[in-house]
Symmetry: C3
Subunit: 274 residues, 3 copies
Amino acid sequence: MDKNNDALVEKVLNEMMKKGISVKGEDQSKSSGGLQMNDFLNSTSAVPELVGTRKIGDTIGMCIPSVDSLLLDQLHVTKRYSVLGVLSARSGAGPHIMAMDEAVKATNTEVIDIELPRDTKGGAGHGSLILIGGYDPSDVRSAINVALDTLSTTFGDVYNSAAGHLELQFTARAAGACHAAFGAPEGKAYGLICGAPAGIGVVMADTAIKTASVNVLSFASPAHGTSFSNEGMVHISGDSGAVRQAVKAGREVGLKLLGDMGEKPVNDFPSYIK
Amino acid sequence: MDKNNDALVEKVLNEMMKKGISVKGEDQSKSSGGLQMNDFLNSTSAVPELVGTRKIGDTIGMCIPSVDSLLLDQLHVTKRYSVLGVLSARSGAGPHIMAMDEAVKATNTEVIDIELPRDTKGGAGHGSLILIGGYDPSDVRSAINVALDTLSTTFGDVYNSAAGHLELQFTARAAGACHAAFGAPEGKAYGLICGAPAGIGVVMADTAIKTASVNVLSFASPAHGTSFSNEGMVHISGDSGAVRQAVKAGREVGLKLLGDMGEKPVNDFPSYIK
Amino acid sequence: MDKNNDALVEKVLNEMMKKGISVKGEDQSKSSGGLQMNDFLNSTSAVPELVGTRKIGDTIGMCIPSVDSLLLDQLHVTKRYSVLGVLSARSGAGPHIMAMDEAVKATNTEVIDIELPRDTKGGAGHGSLILIGGYDPSDVRSAINVALDTLSTTFGDVYNSAAGHLELQFTARAAGACHAAFGAPEGKAYGLICGAPAGIGVVMADTAIKTASVNVLSFASPAHGTSFSNEGMVHISGDSGAVRQAVKAGREVGLKLLGDMGEKPVNDFPSYIK
């Protein structure tokens, strides 16, 4: 085939894009490519509440400097604050909760609501809605910014394939977000080991727990502790080294099992659990 | 490129269609284009229960003239009727409930069940199953027809983008469907302000409530008052002018925020809230 | 158009595949084509727990020969066994439950947990997580293998279209899986009649029950007895001939109604209910 034909192929592909033909694989890589993390952070937005957006997970962060008290009455928050921070995403619960855990550690803010929609745009997992409260809008905006910037780390051990996904999380010192969402004891190491479809998570959990001496906080599955997501997920706590070792063992067996269902699972950002 | 190549491009596209390659953008516009609202209403269907179908939301309307009493025992209806009307859709809860609200106003029928599946075919929201009861099959068929025909109005303020969606609804006089689904006081103006991902709905609600003096009936979010959809949604009631003003203010901020997540959100039918 | 152009078309299609462009129709047929049922059963997998995988429904079967007791404490099982079998899928609840029903009949194993995620990768139904227990790993592996091999039968009366799906199941003698999942009396004939969107299931159920004298065990719908799936589903029991006749009548009206919503619904495997 000559150069003309290559141009023609290009033209057809362009034609397809114009006609809105679904370019799934591409979408996915774009939606999470690190280089494009900030490409639609619209700094000229006319909405004062906007803090920022990230393509990864279709995430938006906002701050309401003084929430209407009639609305506050109807929100399901654990504590009343008039300054609200909002982190909301179509895909990702663990990554957003872990990112917010770092954010509340770094700022004078508090997690007051975590809700997990059954989303991921046709995937097997959750999206997230996280509300934080603070006394000062600049604190809250700063916390939301920290969370948005931490997503490229906390998505590092999320592995996707056509058949399902895996998620691993680890922190040496859990704070308020991990405590509120997963019952993690604050100040201790915490790990999350999750596989989808859910059965993979069962085997990952078994392997992880056998690998190192950790406390098993709970096991979440489609009918217990999830919003009917297709995930099996163990929450562990304990000594930092042991938790990390367990998480890595779960990851290893999960990658093999999910790979056995078809293609190799891939992460969109560099793995952070080493 | 010459004419031959254009023909070739056409050929490739046809080949793709034959092979069943997903033509997403096209699907979507077809699925809701006003001109095609009636294009697969199958008037020669052999099923006597069929009233009609609409591509928008993948909606089907049916009437059972005399429901089997063993089945009626197992349905979760608020009142026993032997003549049942059924409105069922893959995408759309608000639009179908509002359309049914008009339908019960216009006919001698009553809403006896509203259930909201977590659907929308990979989107962030709900589908719907609405049952109505009546004394006469012609009344019930007529109500289902009114509802089907009203969808092109009630989908008018549903705005979609790749990142999420917005939904606005308004009626100057709420009836039985709005009451059953949202707790709206009958006979009063009612408004719905909804954004997805859910966090957008929080800010839309705050803006709307601050704009005009309205009663806040409730705020629904992924873990409260939805079926784990990724929506934030405020239900308001009160003076007709104030409710309308609040709905419009929520829409304005929602369109900006969702637009900040990528592409401009678009509605498939003309906006009806003016 | 000449042969060169055909080659070019082929090239474009290949280009698309490489770029990961979604080839939906093809995916679907591949994902369930009988000939390919075993094509990625990875016999060289390094994970000893793996029993096998099937593309249909993105299904994986595993066996844990000696589950960690800390994990077992957190699982929601009806009875403690140290040998666990796991059947897990992105799409399909009925097919997997019916397949497991055959498996426990054929082996010395027992169903100890059935959970239904709201999945199907953007479709209207459920995935599944089924745990079985046994005293011997070879029994459990054997049961999981029977279940995997039975899927090509139990998917035989699952019919899909862009608008929704239908599912019909029938057994002359229900066992533990049908009992645990649907309340079917063991040893008696059992039938499942399901349509999506849910309203189609209401009419299918009405038609089925009117056709033959059967016991109506329950009716499941988006808000009752499902995980917010968009399904209407009746569970029936009784005389084998009557149950079969009712299931077939439900199937007939369901195929027409779902067909009235657009394209003809198709099954990926031969129908087994005759």
